[in-house]
């Protein structure tokens, strides 16, 4: 309905809504609000970094020891002496153990739901596995400490008895509870739904035609998975593992309840040792003085940074894949 008369612009429907003089006040307000909301996301992320840095600096300046290599945590002593070496170790070591256990199992569960289970059951089964994600971490800690531990101890003992020639499995302290292995196991259970849910999404997206092409060539089911599913899903699988890692790195309460005993670098997984960034903050916050809190904030900053890197990499891996997707 092109007209040349000066029609009131209020009746013209402009899909863009933001052009020249035809901007309606309602549209502008709404656009402003929603843009602001989007902006807020960026602002919050930046603010987190800014404020954490701001409040971390005093302690770092006061630190008489090397922040990165010092093995103790005594920020409230005189002079303050604290470092994140133990925290870095504890965080990474427990997370790696968790990954080693959870990633293959997570992939397996995702494969099961996508290719082995009955189609009609698929979403129910997925729901059940996702329920594991709904369990709050404090309950994992409670259960881990009181119910799971008695079963992990004999397992740890078995490990040190039969595989003790490998140093990480050896146990010289005869202390079996509250070990890194225990924390790693609980973490593994906690990140399992993450790894499996994301892998499952990826597996389900493999185009049916590649699955059928493999089967039509006379492949068994497992061969089909290796031929058509894994190559296609590799970036997604990596991303799933990294997101699981991110989750493990940031887990606080379960680790805090389980690892509260020692504060030292100890590679033997069946012995107590190490503590994670997040757990350390939770445990020491109450009694920390001013420098102490600042030190904990500094450690939180390191944790923020690490999880940022891991999560961003995980997303980047998938994003790259979209460019050369196999679904032509």
């Amino acid at each position: 309905m092109a007209t040349t008369s000066h029609e009131p612009t209020t009746t013209r429907a402009d899909p863009e809504g933001i052009s020249g003089a035809a901007v309606r006040r309602g549209d502008r307000t709404f656009l402003g609000l929603s843009t602001g909301a989007g902006l807020l996301v960026l602002v919050v992320m930046a603010a987190i970094a800014v404020f954490l840095v701001w409040k971390a600096i005093p302690s770092i300046q006061a630190d008489s020891a090397n922040f990165f290599t010092e093995g103790q945590w005594l920020p409230d002593s005189d002079p303050p002496a604290f470092g994140i070496a133990v925290l870095l170790f504890g965080t990474l070591w427990t997370s790696i153990i968790a990954l080693i256990i959870a990633v293959p199992i997570g992939y397996g569960i995702a494969l099961f739901i996508a290719f082995y289970a009955q189609r009609r059951l698929a979403s129910t089964l997925a729901f059940i596995v996702d329920l594991l994600a709904a369990v709050p971490s404090i309950i994992f800690g409670l259960w881990g400490l009181y119910n799971f531990m008695p079963y992990v101890v004999p397992f740890s003992q078995w490990l040190s008895e039969y595989l003790g020639f490998i140093p990480i499995f050896a146990n010289s302290q005869e202390l079996w509870t509250k070990s890194i292995l225990m924390a790693g196991l609980v973490l593994a259970i906690m990140i399992l739904p993450t790894v499996s849910a994301i892998s499952r999404e990826v597996f389900v997206q493999v185009p049916r035609m590649h699955v059928e092409a493999a089967l039509a060539l006379g492949a068994t089911r497992w061969e089909m998975i290796r031929m058509a599913v894994f190559p296609f899903s590799r970036p997604g699988m990596i991303s799933a593992a990294m997101l699981g890692l991110g989750r493990a790195l940031g887990e606080t309460i379960a680790v805090a309840l389980i690892l509260s005993a020692a504060f030292e670098i100890n590679w033997a997984i069946t012995e107590p040792g190490g503590n994670s960034f997040a757990a350390n903050i939770a445990l020491k916050w109450g009694e920390a003085g001013e420098v102490g809190r600042s030190a904990l904030i500094a450690s939180g900053l390191v944790l923020f940074f690490i999880t940022l890197v891991v999560n961003m990499s995980a997303r980047w891996v998938i994003a790259r894949r979209k460019d050369f997707s196999g679904a032509n």
Binding site: Q118, R119, P207, M209, H210, E212, A213, A214, L215, A216, L217, G218, A219, T220, E223, M227, A228, P231, F232, R234, F324, G326, N328
Partner: protein
């Protein structure tokens, strides 16, 4: 090397639903047969039952027999995996594996089961199969490039090369040209005429002119109604089906009165 296919009183079920009923037909060795019929009449279902691909859908089963030179492919102890080795399939949309190179695509099936009787090297097999699919000249300099980097028609010929690399007896083609442009279609049709010297070929097609161009025999399927099973209405030499069909349904379909 190729064999004759006999469908004997074949009923195909998806769970309890009878999709196709009472099919009896013979595909002669080294010939091309086309399956024609309106959408949903079951021709693809019948095709897939020949290499037991329809079993990929849970609950699908058959009654009756599909015989390859007398041996029932649905006999007890028959391994569907081996059936699919012997009977190759090419699909509607070209589907080379995207993460594999052209050469790797060709030998994808061979990597599964290394046939000790074959003396040629992998490279020789790649060349032989690509030549067999009329693709060698076009890709011989870029065998390491990804399989998905080819045009649609080339991709489909790559899929044909992949299918013949394992030296099947029979080739099944499910509307192989419907996703391709007319030039590529003609190229594939020429290829089919060459391939029938070595294989028995069954092709499902929506395009009756294609059936006329390419096949020696034609089988016409139809549905009696929505929700009813499909049936084989008539089968015979292509020339005869198109000029003097015996059944009115066949004649109506050929004349374009429905479908």
């Amino acid at each position: 090397m190729s064999k004759q296919i006999d469908l004997v009183d074949l009923d195909i079920y998806y769970g309890d639903f009878l999709a196709v009923e009472g099919v009896n037909l013979t595909v002669k060795a080294n010939s091309v047969m086309s399956f024609i019929g309106p959408s949903g009449c079951g021709k693809s279902t019948v095709l897939r039952s020949i290499n037991r691909m329809h079993e990929v859908i849970p609950g699908a089963h058959v009654k009756g027999a599909v015989n390859l030179d007398g041996e029932n492919l649905y006999g007890p102890n028959v391994d569907p995996v081996l059936v699919r080795r012997t009977i190759g399939m090419v699909f509607q949309r070209p589907n080379p594996f995207p993460t594999m190179s052209i050469a790797d695509n060709v030998i994808a099936g061979l990597k599964l089961e290394k046939d000790k009787k074959r003396k040629e090297s992998m490279d020789e097999i790649v060349e032989k199969s690509l030549r067999g699919a009329n693709l060698w000249e076009e890709v011989k300099d870029r065998l390491k490039r990804p399989g998905a980097s080819l045009s649609g028609g080339q991709q489909q010929r790559l899929c044909i090369a992949r299918a013949i690399a394992v030296e099947p007896q029979v080739l099944l083609m499910d509307e192989p040209c419907s996703a391709l442009d007319p030039i590529s279609t003609l190229a594939i049709e020429d290829l089919i005429r060459e391939l029938k010297d070595r294989y028995t070929i069954i092709i499902v097609t929506h395009n009756m002119q294609q059936a006329g161009r390419v096949s020696d025999d034609t089988a016409f399927f139809n549905l009696s109604g929505i929700g009813k099973p499909g049936h084989l209405i008539e089968v015979g030499p292509t020339a005869q089906i198109f000029s003097h069909p015996e059944h009115k349904q066949t004649e109506d379909y050929i004349a374009g009165r429905f479908g």
